[in-house]
């Protein structure tokens, strides 16, 4: 007999006379097949539903809760069909959670397609949760029945299902329907229900309702570690590959400005810096034919935390005709920022200012030269361009009212230098008014989870300006006083 086996036998023999009840009650060990499972089940439910919005606990705790639910049902999957269903549904919820966490790390939630899917998918998940609680209830009843309980009951599990259903109905009706007191009552009810569930399980434990848990090939601890690693990987992949807009960069034709040399020369003579004129398209230059005056706005340079330096400049170009002006707002990364995920430019065009009804408009849009944006960068001696849409964006102000501005969103190229761009539009000055616009260039300085684009950050309200290290809002004012126009 090996030494190991001998010691093994000795331990068993030595404990033969051991009286467990002689120990203090808290030190007594009474194994039941329920102990481990009950803990996993109750804490799995708590963690899966709890939301603590700090230190990423809203991500970590539900992820742990989901896998604990799987672990609670895994050894029970042969007990009865209902618990087998619970096990399957717990895996479905796990997969859904993984997908949700990954999607939250991308810009997909910003898209309209995703927004239209959000509600139906949410409803399906609620149905899966309800099915899980229903199956749990039925599964526990089946165990109690098999154990000989005359009137089998598992009130905790049944109430959990009703509570969850009611909570989801309230959520669909709108969170504003829930007052502070109702919220406290809901929370109180939740803990009472969980206590009841724990009591049911404890009753099963005390009475030793038989279970034959199945050993697994992967331990609970390892499964939790693997699951958390999968969650972390999904989030990292999402943040790496999903936080940039798909950009349609096109090679800029070398002869794009061919035939416009005279116009370029005229603009240069009038004072427009040649690097600004050099970025315009041939069509835009053609629209500037016969320019009479060029006024330059005050330039401004901004630095970002990730090593970028942005130079903002502007020019007002007067065209022949009655107070016809073209506004050019140019920005260029003099030093490229290290983090390149999302950028946004938000502006209210002068002729789209929301004026009181009794105030006549100061400007009118030049239909021949509507607002457009163009981006450029250089790589390997070539220039690439893209034209992001300048779309209306509604934002709530400090005072609760909504206002609409224009916003363009894009991603800087991963490689390349001298990223730059401009906003160009024509207008008619209807009154002796100054031309003043304030634009916000928002640069994302670091990865954010859940993913938030510069555009979303900008839409979230201007009270965050300068306070959030994840974004840098660079406010540039283009101003041409009426005395000079």
């Amino acid at each position: 007999m090996s030494e190991e086996k001998r010691f093994d036998l000795e331990l068993t023999e030595q404990l033969a006379d051991f009286d467990m009840t002689a120990l203090p009650e808290e030190e007594q060990v009474e194994p039941t097949p329920w102990q481990h499972l009950a803990g996993k089940l109750v804490w799995g439910v708590i963690f899966s539903t709890i939301t603590l919005n700090f230190l990423y606990l809203d991500v970590i705790l539900p992820a742990i809760g989901m896998i604990w639910l799987v672990q609670a049902f895994r050894p029970l999957r042969r007990e009865n069909g209902w618990l087998r269903l619970c096990h399957g549904l717990a895996w479905v919820l796990c997969a859904a959670r993984l997908c949700t966490l990954a999607v939250q790390g991308t810009l997909l939630p910003e898209t309209e397609t995703f927004a239209s899917l959000e509600r139906p998918v949410g409803l399906v998940l609620v149905a899966v949760w309800l099915a899980l609680y229903f199956s749990l209830w039925r599964g526990l009843l089946a165990i109690a029945r098999r154990g000989g309980q005359e009137q089998p009951s598992a009130p905790g599990a049944a109430m959990l299902m009703v509570w969850y259903g009611a909570l989801m109905a309230l959520a669909l009706a709108g969170p504003e329907q829930v007052s502070g007191l109702a919220f406290v009552l809901i929370l109180l009810l939740y803990f009472l229900i969980l206590r009841s569930l724990r009591k049911t399980l404890h009753f099963f434990e005390e009475n030793g309702y038989t279970l034959q848990p199945l050993p697994s090939r992967v331990s609970d601890g390892r499964l939790t570690a693997l699951w958390l690693a999968a969650v972390a990987l999904a989030i990292v992949l999402a943040l790496t590959f999903g936080t940039r807009y798909p950009m349609d960069w096109q090679l800029r034709p070398a002869d794009e400005q061919a035939g416009q040399e005279e116009i370029i020369e005229n603009l240069r003579t009038l004072g427009l810096p040649k690097e600004l004129a050099a970025d315009l398209t041939g069509e835009e230059l053609a629209a500037l034919a016969g320019a009479q005056r060029v006024l330059l706005g005050v330039g401004d340079t901004f630095t970002t935390d990730d090593g970028g330096k942005l130079l903002c400049r502007s020019a007002a170009i007067q065209l022949p005709g009655e107070e016809r002006w073209v506004l050019l707002q140019h920005f260029a990364w003099v030093e490229m920022p290290r983090h390149r995920s999302t950028e946004a430019l938000r502006i209210t065009l002068p002729y789209e200012e929301d004026l009181p009804s009794h105030v006549p408009p100061f400007y009118a849009a030049d239909e021949a030269l509507l607002a457009r944006m163009r981006l450029l960068y250089d790589k390997g001696g070539e220039t690439f361009t893209a034209s992001p849409a300048l779309e209306p964006m509604t934002t709530a102000s400090w005072f609760g009212d909504e206002y609409t501005t224009r916003c363009a969103a894009w991603s800087l190229p991963r490689q390349g230098t001298a990223a730059r761009g401009y906003l160009l539009y024509g207008l008619y000055r209807l009154d002796d008014a100054s031309i003043v616009t304030v634009s916000d260039y928002v640069h994302q300085q670091r990865a954010v989870y859940p993913a938030l684009s510069a555009r979303q950050h900008s839409a979230s309200g201007f009270w965050e300006w300068g306070l959030d290290a994840k974004f840098r809002t660079m406010q540039y004012q283009m101003s041409f006083h009426y005395d000079h126009l």
């Binding site: 331990l11 467990m20 009840t21 009650e25 060990v29 009474e30 005390e206 038989t210 050993p215 992967v218």
Partner: protein
């Protein structure tokens, strides 16, 4: 009716109360005795042993010391262990077996004292594992299923646990 009330009735000689208690805890009793007595017929006989012990000792239960379930667990384990011992005693004697001397008995008691002291230092999962294996006689498969571990994981933990106990008991693995 509560367990305490049923016990009182058993003390008073109420057989129906004993039957009620035995039905109520049937699953638990079987859970405790099964690892010691894998044979179904032996288990049924052991149930009778447990019922007899309950009948005799109902008056000795002290609720301040332990819960009824814990007290019953000890009764079940002892009944199963005694039956398993009797089974072994009925088996042919090992020719090489020697009767322990008084000195052996003193040494055994000393090692037992050291073991109890060592076990007192075990906590959490180690403590669960130890008692499940060596006190309740559970198999590696059963422990793995009920504690969310793999069989290999249980074996590994038991190996480390034995080394730790040897060290705590002043053995050679220190």
């Amino acid at each position: 009716m509560t367990d305490a009330q049923l016990l009182q009735q058993i003390v008073g000689g109420d057989e129906a109360a004993l039957r009620t208690l035995m039905v109520r805890y049937d699953a638990r009793i079987r859970y405790i005795i099964r690892p010691f007595l894998p044979d179904a017929r032996e288990q049924e006989e052991c149930l009778q042993d447990v019922a007899m012990t309950l009948w005799r000792k109902a008056g000795e239960y002290d609720s301040s010391k332990a819960s009824f379930a814990a007290w019953l667990t000890v009764i079940c384990r002892n009944a199963a262990l005694n039956r398993a011992r009797r089974q072994r005693a009925e088996a042919p004697l090992d020719e090489t077996l020697t009767v322990p001397s008084a000195e052996d008995e003193v040494l055994r008691r000393e090692r037992q004292r050291r073991l109890y002291a060592a076990v007192g230092q075990l906590q959490g999962e180690e403590r669960q594992l130890f008692f499940r294996k060596y006190y309740y006689g559970q198999s590696t498969v059963q422990i793995a299923g009920e504690m969310g571990l793999t069989e290999r994981g249980v074996e590994g933990r038991l190996y480390r646990l034995r080394r730790k106990l040897r060290r705590l008991m002043g053995g050679e693995d220190g």
